[in-house]
């Protein structure tokens, strides 16, 4: 059996590595066709990774991407497609920013302020995702459709609330408007990274904690078992006594809660207020990273880091005359090839295991034995 699990682990690694190599070759081909030197591009990217600023920024991007991926993965594990992480985190970040920047917070201890801001973000995200879960179990509305629509509604709600007459104030010296800035006591300080002007988000630890909790929930709790069982086979889960409707609502709430955290490292670590220029679209990146990392807590961490680095590298490419869109192509190709490679490996593995077990037992029957 040891041999089997070793081979199985090797196969698990073969899929992403093979897919990455394939994606890189394909990108090289595209570069050659568009008249750029792949060698030079690689050279540029390698150089950029050595720059401290790129490292710090990549880590920061990866932090938000990872949180977003975990939110998506919680749904994926149950075969629920929470496309609405984007709307959930934007609405959550704005509400959290409004609470965190509110004047009454000034008198509270720093720890409590930060905690309250985070809790508000999680609650808002959970409620927003919960609407989709509720609609699914009561009215049978596909969560794909409802979360996409909720994204649009979130955009409108944020636009409505982000108005000087309501939650927003003008940002000094610009046309921008945003929520009242969170004062120092409500912020989470970052770490200096030698040689880099940008700091590393202090809440990178929040992402690590969320990753750990995600792993623990899936592998160590009854709830996680029910969740995985429902994802693997809904009919078997029902027969085993899982209340699928309850699980749908619970996992949407959890997914939304995690989604609520996506904007928090940026909010408390750098922006300090939710303004018109707050990063958007992170929810969709999360889907790609969850796919790339196969919903695995560690896999998604690597995927988030890769993604973060590619994002940063695109800036460097632009400077050296290579269109930075090449990075977007690269990301797309990586996701597609990884998804395909995983499915191939999964099927191959199952067949291989079946054969190995048959061999180990020597029980593959001859026709005579079966018809006897």
């Amino acid at each position: 059996m040891k041999k089997l699990s070793l081979r199985s682990a090797g196969l698990g690694l073969a899929a992403p590595v093979g897919a990455l190599i394939f994606a890189l070759l394909l990108c090289a081909l595209i570069l050659v066709i568009t008249g750029h030197s792949p060698v030079e591009v690689v050279d540029q990217m390698v150089k950029s990774v050595q720059r401290p600023r790129t490292v710090a920024n990549s880590l920061n991007s990866a932090t938000t991407y990872y949180l977003s991926a975990v939110a998506v993965a919680i749904g994926f594990k149950m075969r629920l497609f929470n496309i609405g992480v984007d709307g959930q985190y934007r609405l959550a970040a704005m509400m959290a920013a409004a609470v965190g920047g509110a004047s009454f917070m000034g008198s509270l201890p720093s720890f409590l302020r930060i905690l309250m801001t985070i809790v508000v973000a999680m609650l808002v995200g959970a409620v927003w995702a919960g609407i989709a879960g509720f609609l699914k179990v009561t009215r049978g509305v596909s969560e794909v459709i409802s979360t996409i629509m909720l994204n649009a509604i979130a955009t409108a709600v944020v636009a409505y609330l982000l108005n000087p007459a309501r939650l927003a104030v003008s940002v000094a010296g610009s046309n921008n408007i945003g929520t009242a800035p969170i004062t120092e006591g409500g912020q989470v300080p970052g770490f200096d990274y030698p040689g880099s002007s940008s700091k590393i988000f202090g809440l990178i630890f929040l992402a690590v904690l969320v990753g750990f909790l995600y792993w623990f929930m899936l592998n160590r709790t009854r709830f996680g078992f029910d969740l995985k069982a429902t994802g693997l086979s809904e009919s078997a889960a029902v027969a085993s006594g899982v209340n699928v409707k309850k699980m749908i609502v619970a996992s949407m709430l959890l997914s939304g809660g995690a989604a609520g955290l996506v904007g928090i490292p940026q909010l408390l670590g750098a922006s300090h207020s939710y303004a018109l220029d707050f990063p958007s679209g992170l929810g969709f990146t999360g889907i790609a990273i969850a796919l790339l990392g196969r919903n695995h807590p560690v896999g998604m961490a690597f995927a988030a880091l890769l993604w973060g680095f590619l994002d940063q590298a695109s800036n460097v490419l632009d400077i050296s005359g290579v269109p930075k869109e090449i990075v977007v192509i690269m990301q797309g190709v990586i996701v597609l090839s990884v998804v395909i490679a995983y499915e191939l490996v999964r099927r191959y593995r199952l067949r291989l295991e079946q054969r190995e077990v048959g061999k180990a037992l020597g029980t593959t029957k001859t026709p005579a034995e079966v018809s006897a």
Binding site: R220, L232, S233, G241
Partner: protein
């Protein structure tokens, strides 16, 4: 059409071995056999969905080799599936041309298709209106649309997979009328069924399949339904039997006036009442699709009741959900272990937890006790003789019999009071079958109330203390297994019996 020496192996099992069938052109040929006898595999081979490992197929004297259904269609073979494959929001015409749309330049030439459908419909007396929405059609009409669909594609040989399973008796008569007309027009029909009375009334030749191989070819005039049932059931199996009676007077599972309605509004179970006592096995005999699956799901709380009461050890459990019923001591061996009993891609020990997510040693409070679950899986593997190289392999890699033994081991753990066993030995080899029977005997000796549903009449007669027959959602007859014969039971099951019900 002629099949010679067809053999098909799947990992661990042989689904078909040395199948020989000769179908005369222009006849209705019936293929009969129990569930799991290998009919469906054979059918898939005929229709190009699977390739045989050995053997040859010839059509009109020429050897053929199908790799996809398209090859089979090209050779003039058409399949009418048991479950209709029609788009409800399309008209009959649109459904029929779907996939082979007649093109006229850039557009579609519906006119020619409509004329062709009307022509086929009239020629074979199918009475299908091409412009009606499929949504508005009844089950019998939908089936005729399916038949028309394959005729439209030029099929000369029609395979009908259990076509009567979804029909009411009048519709069955209509279908048989259609089949006779198709035959009169020179088409060949391969009719797959296990309803013997129907087979005898419509077929010209009958081939019996048992345990993956053809055991007899007979002509309806020369056999009775009883003889056919004997051929189908066979007698080569290890004999299931119970030892001394362990039946007590304590009622454990009581079911009163159960009524269940399916999602499309049909009544699938009605006025169903029975009591099972501690230490008693109640066997339910019946042809597949007469309400057995619904009964089991209603008992387990998976399917809602329309009326009636279920009580367990004197307590009403109508309101309890599946998990609470399991916690109250209801053990469940589902009829389709792949769909309801297992997480195929999960390991053995994870599957040991399934259905027992609330019980020690699998859990400790809200947490999974991996160590406890693993240790207990090792115990089940040893006690129930589950042949596996370890408990960390995916359960999908074990044979059906070993999967089933793990399920039984898991369900017998945790002091159950009721065991609901739905087709406990379906699709398992002879060795596992004997072992599973032994476990059921042990459960009975431990004073469990056992409800056993099976299609294997010998198993039912041998393993039951009491036997009921279910037909169209009702319990229609009760027998003493000590005196009943498989033939009598078979007759009652198909409603063809001379016994007044």
């Amino acid at each position: 059409m002629e099949l010679k020496g067809i053999t098909k192996r799947f990992p661990g099992v042989v689904a078909n071995s040395d199948i020989n069938v000769g179908v005369r052109s222009g006849t209705v040929h019936a293929l009969v056999g129990e569930n799991g006898a290998g009919k469906s595999t054979l059918m898939k081979i005929l229709y190009g969905m699977q390739r045989p490992d050995e053997g040859t197929i010839s059509v009109n004297g020429g050897l053929v080799d199908f790799t996809t259904p398209a090859d089979a269609i090209a050779a003039g073979i058409g399949m009418v599936h048991q479950h209709f494959m029609l788009a409800d929001n399309f008209t009959v015409l649109e459904n029929v041309v779907l996939g082979t749309e007649p093109k006229a330049g850039m557009g579609l030439d519906f006119k020619a298709a409509r004329a062709k459908i009307k022509d086929i419909s009239a020629r074979y007396g199918l009475g299908v209106d091409p412009d009606r929405l499929v949504d508005e059609l009844g089950v019998g009409e939908r089936q005729r649309v399916e038949i028309l669909k394959v005729l439209y594609r030029g099929a000369k040989i029609l395979i009908l997979d259990e076509p009567t399973a979804v029909l009411v008796p009048q519709e069955v008569d209509e279908l048989f009328g259609n089949l006779r007309e198709l035959k009169a027009e020179g088409l060949t029909i391969l009719f797959i069924s296990h309803k013997l009375d129907e087979v005898l009334s419509v077929a010209d030749d009958i081939t019996v399949v048992r345990r993956g191989t053809t055991v007899a070819s007979v002509v309806p005039g020369e056999v009775t339904a009883r003889q056919l049932a004997e051929l189908m059931v066979g007698s080569a199996l290890p004999v299931p039997e119970l030892r001394e009676s362990t039946v007590t007077e304590t009622p454990v599972l009581e079911v009163r006036d159960l009524k269940v309605t399916s999602s499309d509004g049909r009544t699938v179970l009605e006025n169903l009442s029975f009591t099972i006592h501690a230490g008693e096995v109640l066997g339910i005999a019946g042809v597949e699709g007469n309400g057995q699956a619904e009964l089991v799901e209603a008992l387990m709380g998976i399917r809602p009741l329309s009326a009636g009461h279920i009580s367990l050890s004197g307590k009403d459990i109508n309101k309890l959900n599946t998990r609470k019923r399991r916690d109250a001591g209801m053990a469940y061996i589902p009829e389709d272990r792949h769909r309801q009993g297992l997480l195929l891609e999960a390991t053995l020990w994870e599957n040991r937890i399934l259905g027992h997510q609330t019980k020690a040693p699998n859990v400790r409070g809200p947490l999974i006790n991996r160590k406890g679950a693993r240790a207990d899986t090792e115990r089940i593997v040893a006690d129930y003789d589950v042949r596996t190289p370890g408990i960390e392999v995916a359960i999908a890699s074990l044979s059906g019999g070993n999967q089933q033994k793990l399920i039984i081991g898991r369900e017998m753990t945790g002091d159950p009071v009721v065991l609901i066993a739905s087709h406990p030995t379906r699709g398992v080899d002879v060795g596992a079958q004997a072992a599973i029977w032994e476990h059921i005997r042990r459960a009975r000796a431990e004073k469990l109330a056992v409800l056993m549903i099976s299609a294997d009449l010998d198993e039912l007669i041998g393993m039951s203390d009491r036997l009921s027959v279910i037909l169209r959602g009702k319990l229609v007859a009760e027998y003493d297994p000590n005196s009943v014969t498989p033939e009598e039971l078979g007759s009652a099951m198909t409603g063809a019996g001379d016994k007044t019900l």
